[in-house]
Symmetry: C2
Subunit: 140 residues, 2 copies
DNA sequence: TATTTTGCGCAACTTAGTTGCATTTAATAT
DNA sequence: ATATTAAATGCAACTAAGTTGCGCAAAATA
């Protein structure tokens, strides 16, 4: 059923007006099929040997997806970036859960980030990222 | 006036029961003097040539400070860790501000992180980290 | 002052991400 | 269908951040 995701990916890419390339379709398809944020390395693994994409190209595809708002970068503490499509999440004010054991990052789509006090004078908020750390259901 | 911070640092380190070493006092002193979270590299710069500490040792000191709850790690998107003493902030539920231009990370001590909905079933929350991204007063 | 345990420095390594440039390829114009 | 061209890809080499193992140095204690 991954085919559907690839078709969906192609449609989303077409919509940007930029080129529809093998790499972009493959990567976005994988991200669409995935429910959680995954790392560069995990994407490489899912691509497999036959449909392998160059390391650098993969970085550039992810960067492009991010720029086109088709995916967003999830920041975690292990100096790895993770990516996730943002078709289901609002662009701003979404929250992430990071498991302290398995390091998996999950988007908490129902959880809205809030902060109780105003920012210091002169500061401007563009985006709020909330990370809840703890144990996921698997590791608890 | 930095001397005071070093004395304070020494006292805090003594309190842990572990060894009071030159490196630990220097690094914690610098962190105490600093109001915002600073990176490994910035700490090295502040140490200067005369009181230089080995790169690896500095990592290990920061790790130790973190373990002893004398400092905490601030995660940002540039794959650099930043450290800040947590004598003034509560251990949990503190928020950070990251400037999109100068990349400076500031602790927002007055801002409490909140999330509106419960976690998925089976999940356990240990720590909540909230990062507000935008422009700081300097760069706005 | 000697002993022991802990922390430090060095060198070498890993992993994640970056840059420049030559080659290929998707879109388009012919 | 084919040529053109701008954009995307692949390669190689690099940087920056963080890690590991081990011998040596220095705090704490006796």
């Amino acid at each position: 059923m991954l085919t559907n995701f690839y078709e969906q990916a192609e449609e989303m890419i077409r919509h940007t007006g930029d080129r529809i390339t093998r790499g972009r379709v493959l990567v976005l398809g994988i991200l669409l099929a995935e429910k959680k944020a995954i790392s560069h390395h995990e994407i490489e693994e899912k691509l497999g040997d036959d449909s392998a994409i160059n390391r650098v190209t993969l970085y550039r595809i992810l960067e492009w997806l991010n720029k086109k708002d088709l995916a967003h970068k999830v920041i975690s503490g292990d100096r790895k970036w993770r990516f996730r499509t943002n078709i289901y999440t609002g662009l701003h004010q979404h929250a992430h859960f990071k498991c302290s054991i398995c390091a998996a990052v999950t988007c908490l789509s129902d959880v809205k980030a809030k902060y109780s006090s105003p920012l210091p004078p002169g500061y401007q908020s563009h985006e709020v990222e909330l990370t809840v750390k703890g144990l996921c259901a698997e590791c608890a």
